[in-house]
Amino acid sequence: MNLATTEVKRAKLRFGLLTGAVALLVFLTLLLTTLSGALIGALVGALEGLKTDGLAYSDTARDNIAASRLPVDTVDAVAAVSGVAAAAGIGTLTTAAEVNGEAIDIQVFGVDSTGPGAPSGLTDGRLPENANEAAVDGGGVAIGDVIVLDPSGVELTVVGLLRGAQFNAIPTAYSDLATFEDIVTLSFPGLPFVPINAVAFDIAEGAQASEVIAAIESSVPGVRAYTRDDAVALIPGIDSITQSFGILVGLTFIIGIVVIGFFFLILTVQKLKSFTLLRAIGTTTGRLAITVSLQIAFVVILASIIAVGLVLLAVQGLNTGIPVTLEPITIVATVLAVLVFSLIAGLLSIRRIVRIDPASAVGAR
């Protein structure tokens, strides 16, 4: 006779409503985690996905690639530093564009597809090999589409599709450096020279990153160098955004867990008469605690399955403008965290069970 499952079977409405409420809480937590992850990914994905060990900006850029301006010969200067295996320029700008008759904002990166700084996350097609070709993340484009940049009028033919490679949460196109130069020249006529924004560099095998970075900064005037991860972490505002989303998700999670704990405490209080009877006829506290724990686990697991289904539907149905994907690791981590902390919250109920005086079954006190 399993009390936990028998009660669930007999009280389908009660446990159904409870499961529904918990499913909504898990859904909210999972969706917020997914959306915040997607948004942060869309803001910094481009830098996170660059195939490079490090990046060098101008020392006046205040850690911001968009504010960095470097002459093209900085690439050779960085490449010549001891411990640098290879270096390549990266240029980037935000511009308007038209694709399939629709006006969009687009971030354009000029990269060396075969050197440091090439993008990752190719899901279809290939990286650009020729002028006026681009690999793109976002914007609803397909391979073969033509993106017309404004005001330069440069046309980019989409040859590859990327995922997780956006910057500033807008569609992002990767072309070669020569095409990038054309775009800048035609967008800003009269420029004395076309600067690049950064130098991507790979560190030679056996060399220490910190030593190479120090060597670059001391050897190449006006340059500040970073590992790729540091460059991502130092993007202006990203720290605040990450922390804000962390607080939002964390609070949702904590409130959800507390609510789940209270739900089960209410259920326990409602059943105190039965629990008192069961204690009186010889049921151990441990057995009742296991009953409550099993019911918590059952409700949370069932609710999590429902919540994952709802989030999958939401991710497909929501038009957020950024690529949102539900990662298995996010699902597993969230569900496990909800389960573990719900069981901990269930201690409120178990504490109440421990305090049951079996003598009260006969009103002896």
Partner: protein
């Protein structure tokens, strides 16, 4: 219950319930030295100091194996406290309770839980059945507590339900049963673990007289047929005719042991 001060002997002497003709329980207990249940000088005091209340004062009684006795007294006289102590639900302040060779008062909390599961059957006045278990499941649950095999427990539950006339109601939840049927299920549950002692607390409190008589008759039959020892707490004089002996209790003091016929109902 009484205040901690000594009960007023004048008030006691003038109370009709204290005017029985039978021997004092302590004297009676001396005549049953080998009784299954021996309660000796059990006192229960709630609180301490000025707020102390004596619920039970030096209660002594003996009940033989196979006997079905009544504990008769008005509300608040201490009868529920006494069966709670006998059943291992409450610890006495002083005195001893032995069932066979087990000293109940010396058992730990954990041992008491085991003792209640294995050696005592309870029929309570209220909170008597688990509401989300059917009549049959209420019986089977007890079997699970004492480690009975599934086949044995099913056979025993079905037999008990049959004896109690509840075969057709085996799959009903308590809320679908009448008050009398619920008490019959509770009797079955109390016997499910094959206990030494069956403790029954006001089994007819929520029943009309006819139904109450039926339930107590059934209780007596089951206890006698199985050779169990039963104690029924009641304040209803009409129900004591089905018992072998009646222990009267007033203001926490066991006063007399009477035969049911001597109570003249």
């Amino acid at each position: 219950m009484t205040a901690s001060e000594t009960p007023d002997p004048v008030a006691q002497a003038t109370d009709s319930a204290a005017e029985g003709t039978g021997p004092a329980p302590a004297v009676d207990a001396a005549a049953h030295p080998d009784a299954l249940l021996q309660v000796r000088d059990v006192t229960k005091v709630y609180g301490s100091g000025h707020t102390a209340v004596t619920a039970l004062a030096e209660a002594t009684l003996a009940v033989e194996k196979g006997e079905f006795v009544a504990l008769l007294g008005p509300s608040g006289s201490g009868k529920t406290t006494l069966i709670s102590i006998i059943g291992g639900l409450l610890a006495p302040t002083s005195g001893s309770v032995t069932i066979g060779d087990t000293d109940v008062a010396s058992l730990s909390r954990k041992q008491l839980t085991r003792f209640r599961a294995e050696r005592v059957g309870f029929v309570f006045q209220s909170a008597n059945l688990v509401p989300f278990l059917t009549a049959r499941e209420n019986l089977l649950y007890v079997a699970g507590l004492v480690g009975m095999t599934k086949s044995d427990s099913r056979a025993r539950a079905d037999q008990l339900l049959d004896e109690l006339g509840l075969t057709d109601r085996a799959r009903n939840l308590p809320e679908q049963l009448s008050g009398g049927e619920r008490q019959r299920v509770a009797i079955g549950r109390a016997l499910m673990n094959d206990p030494d002692l069956v403790l029954v607390d006001e089994p007819t409190a929520a029943l009309d007289t006819a139904l109450g008589r039926q339930v107590v008759q059934l209780l007596r039959r089951e206890i006698k047929d199985r050779g169990k020892t039963g104690i029924m707490v009641t304040h209803d004089l009409r129900m004591v005719e089905y018992t072998d002996r009646v222990f009267e209790i007033l203001d926490g003091h066991l006063t007399h042991v009477e035969s049911p016929s001597a109570l003249g109902h």
